[in-house]
């Protein structure tokens, strides 16, 4: 190395800098067509998909982004209507249900094929469901199978013979499923990805059946039975699926491609949508919603969503052991103000845990905003005008939305009950740890339904329910949910039992319901057949692209 910077090195340096700069700027000129108008020409749907999928194995995946990709790649016995969510024929072209509601017989299509052309038949389901129930696989959704006879027993190792589980292939095209109890929502479960079939030969080619994290789900490897097949998967960049020519209904699939973009940041995703880089964005920042609404922008679609936002109360906290205190807290949250002034996206104030209208179920609730009565309750509990009430903490995981709500509720409790509440935000994993260890006093929570039935919400609060986490336990409640409801003769009787159980829950108030979620979607007007529904589940095989004003652009 020369000790001096000679003139020649300096000029070399500047030359290098010039070259690099020009390479950076290169190609920046020249008009480029945006994704949306280009996609409308080529039949490519550009889909904002939240985060990078962790797995595309339907028996391992758990998240919403994974869900949106898997439903394009795979399909269950039954599909759902894209508006009403009523069961529609999928791989099964028809089915019969026995009179006692326990035996389902499915008749499969003879033209169902895997995406590599292999025949797809009833044995695939027996094998796939066997696989999904292997404990070593670590399937978080194994409980979705538990309405099937002996599935729970098999999963928990009480019986070791899969023959005893209520799934049988009567012949190549007939599958018989026997349930433990009549389960009105069973057909819905079949459209959940945890009950999708997987291609045995492919899974076994890349590892054993119950092995996690094999490479069978990667591009070039994965074989599915859905309307699309995986073409490209670039980590943190995009997942591309293209139409599957072997799909039984391939003639009616109108999209050629879907490109999924993993954007963690809702604000980035909204800007991408506005710049015409996406046809769809599934997360709209709360403060943007008002702007879209005041512009009457048709892109904004708001629909009720099968999910509840609530606060858990750790009932072992000394000052929160008295249910009058918990009721008082629940009665002084002004939910109308929260939903209208802070959330702003048409969320529905919640006075019960189960969203109203779930499978015809409308919970009865005596909970309402009533500061006067709440003050009385608090006084009865020994804290007149909030005097002597120890400082209490609301725990939430770090997020703008949770923060806003907590700040407002903190102030409401101060104003109406004169009690001091502090806020504590924790990073996601720390928060999960605190909540599951019951190391909290009041904690923010949310629950999104996996299937449309009150049971999915109410069995959360069983004494040893993994998602209870409040320390609240009522054996009578448990008996209603675990014993009486499944054995109910009619749907009316069953719903009546749920109503009774939910009343008990609300009277004790180990959880404070706050609002019912809405799904807020931005959908480009050229996307047709996109229908909002309470599961926020799109039907990619029906969506097509058609610009309204075809002449423009």
């Amino acid at each position: 190395m020369k000790p001096q910077v000679s003139v020649s090195t300096a000029s070399q340096l500047s030359a290098i800098i010039l070259i690099l700069t020009s390479s950076l700027l290169l190609g920046s000129c020249g008009s480029s067509e945006n994704n949306v108008s280009k996609g409308n020409r080529t039949g490519t749907l550009h889909w904002g998909n939240g985060t990078e999928p962790q797995s595309l194995d339907p028996h391992i995946a758990t998240g919403v982004p994974e869900h949106k990709i898997i439903i394009a790649l795979m399909e269950g016995l039954v599909l759902k209507d894209r508006k009403t969510l009523e069961p529609r024929p999928g791989v099964a072209k028809s089915w019969e249900i026995s009179d006692d509601g326990r035996v389902y017989t499915f008749h499969l299509r003879d033209n169902a094929r895997w995406s590599n052309g292999d025949p797809h038949n009833a044995h695939d389901y027996v094998w796939s469901w066997w696989r999904a129930l292997q404990p070593a696989l670590g399937n978080l959704y194994a409980y979705m199978y538990f309405s099937i006879e002996n599935a729970k027993e098999y999963y928990e190792g009480e019986i070791s013979d899969f023959e005893q589980v209520g799934v049988k292939a009567l012949d190549d095209l007939t599958l018989q499923v026997t349930l433990k109890n009549p389960t009105p929502y069973f057909l819905q479960l079949l459209d959940h990805y945890s009950l999708y079939p997987v291609h045995q030969a492919t899974v076994e080619k890349f590892g054993s059946a119950d092995q996690r994290g094999t490479r069978w789900t990667y591009e070039g490897n994965i074989v599915g039975n859905g309307a699309f097949q995986l073409r490209d998967w670039k980590i943190n960049r995009r997942v591309v699926v293209e139409r599957n020519p072997y799909y039984w209904n391939a003639d009616n699939v109108r999209l050629n491609e879907i490109v999924y973009y993993p954007t963690e940041n809702a604000i980035t995703e909204e800007r991408m949508f506005r710049a015409g880089q996406l046809h769809y964005s599934g997360t709209v920042p709360a403060d943007k919603i008002a702007t879209y609404q005041s512009n009457n922008d048709p892109a904004l679609r708001i629909d009720p969503y099968l999910g509840i936002y609530f606060y858990r109360i750790n009932v072992e906290t000394p000052q929160l052991q008295d249910k009058r205190v918990r009721r008082a807290l629940g009665m002084t949250i002004d939910r109308d103000q929260l939903t209208q002034r802070i959330l702003k996206a048409g969320q529905i104030p919640a006075y019960a845990i189960t969203p109203p209208g779930t499978m015809g179920y409308y919970p009865e609730s005596d909970l309402r905003f009533d500061p006067e009565a709440a003050r009385q309750l608090l006084a009865d509990a020994g804290y007149p005008n909030g005097e002597g009430f120890p400082s209490t903490e609301i725990l939430y995981n770090t997020s703008e939305g949770h923060r806003k709500l907590a700040v407002a509720i903190q102030q409401m409790w101060k104003k109406h009950l004169n009690i001091d509440v502090t806020l504590l935000n924790q990073e996601w994993k720390v928060y999960l740890n605190s909540v599951s260890m019951k190391d909290y006093q009041i904690g923010r929570a949310g629950w999104i339904g996996d299937y449309v039935d009150p049971n999915n919400f109410l069995d959360m609060f069983l004494c040893n329910g993994g998602n209870n986490r409040t320390g609240w336990c009522n054996p009578v409640y448990d008996e209603l949910i675990l014993k009486h409801a499944p054995e109910a003769k009619t749907q009316e009787e069953r719903l009546e039992i749920f109503t009774q159980a939910e009343k008990m829950l609300l009277a004790d108030m180990p959880v404070i319901p706050i609002y019912i979620y809405t799904s807020n979607n931005l959908v480009d007007p050229s996307v047709k057949n996109f229908s909002g529904n309470i599961l926020n589940q799109p039907s990619f095989s029906e969506i097509y692209l058609e610009p309204d004003n075809g002449g423009q652009q």
């Binding site: 604000i267 920042p285 403060d287 943007k288 008002a290 702007t291 103000q337 002034r341 802070i342 770090t398 703008e400 923060r403 806003k404 907590a406 700040v407 407002a408 903190q410 102030q411 502090t422 806020l423 504590l424 935000n425 924790q426 990073e427 720390v430």
Partner: protein, 291 residues
């Protein structure tokens, strides 16, 4: 040689000279004035703030600046002026204290490593390398779990990362000074090491150190916001400038005033600090005294 002796004689009056020079630098005085004003306002905030920092008015919501609310209100209908005043208390405190922590550790570490050299230097700088490499976020989360939530921890956590670059800069400066003629001359004159460090090394490293310090304060104020998101630092409804700016960015199209006012306040502080820093540097520079 003459210069060296001249400096020796007036070494003790370095600070007084500096003050005289500083008082002639109007920009620096302006900076000092702004900082002093901000500090006074911060101290008096609980008595002079127009509203309470947690006083909400959900029906009002976010409104643009008006006669009642000079800097507008946020989505909870809270007065922005009040929130910026309260935020200043946190931000100024974090900015000054955490930077001071970083400054003391960084300068000492860098000066010792650079001056002693050899094995000591190698070991000390490798420790810096290790600290650079550790995953900061995990470190913070653990700190929180072990010690709970504590504002002192915030200073510690910020100080722990910010001193590293300072140490590297000081070290490189010290190493280059050590080989300068006037330092070698001082050695040959038989001055003690401590005298050399005090009289020659420290004054001559002050320039870059002051510059880097004025750069560190803003990044510390912004780092505080990140730590608050992790759960360390302050919790709502309290605020700091860093947090206000973070929230403001999210709604910059809808409610620009929520970003502009905290942003301008922070920038003003930084400009003031910067002018003051430059002034101090010039005033403390032993060589400019001869010009």
């Amino acid at each position: 040689m003459d210069r060296l002796q001249a400096m020796e004689e007036k070494g003790s009056s370095l600070w007084r000279d500096a003050w005289i020079k500083l008082s002639k630098n109007y920009l620096a005085l302006f900076g000092l004035g702004v900082i002093a004003l901000l500090c006074i306002v911060s101290l008096l905030t609980p008595w002079i703030a127009p509203y309470g920092y947690e006083e909400q008015n959900l029906m009002l919501g976010a409104t643009a600046p008006s006669l009642e609310h000079w800097l507008g209100t946020d989505i909870f209908g809270r007065d922005m002026l009040t929130r910026i005043m309260y935020g200043g208390r946190v931000s100024l405190m974090v900015g000054f204290i955490a930077t001071a922590v970083a400054l003391v550790i960084g300068v000492l570490w860098g000066a010792i490593a650079g001056f002693v050299g050899g094995r000591v230097d190698a070991v000390m700088m490798r420790i810096v390398d290790i600290m650079y490499a550790l995953p900061f976020m995990i470190f913070i989360v653990l700190l929180m779990v072990v010690f709970g939530r504590n504002i002192l921890l915030l200073f510690l956590a910020i100080g722990a990362v910010e001193w590293l670059t300072m140490a590297r800069i000081v070290r490189s400066q010290v190493m280059s000074l050590r080989k300068q003629e006037f330092v070698e001359a001082a050695y040959s004159l038989g001055l003690s090491q401590w005298t050399i460090i005090r009289r020659h090394i420290i004054p001559n490293t002050l320039g870059p150190v002051i510059v880097y310090t004025t750069l560190t304060i803003p990044s510390v104020m912004l780092l505080e916001a990140f730590l608050s998101f992790l759960g360390l630092g302050i919790q709502p409804p309290e605020s700091s400038w860093g947090l206000l700016i973070n929230y403001g960015v999210e709604t910059m199209e809808e409610y620009p005033w929520l970003l502009i006012f905290p942003g301008v306040t922070l920038s003003l502080t930084l400009f003031a600090l910067n002018f003051l820093g430059d002034g101090l540097r010039d005033a403390l520079d032993p060589r400019t005294s001869k010009d």
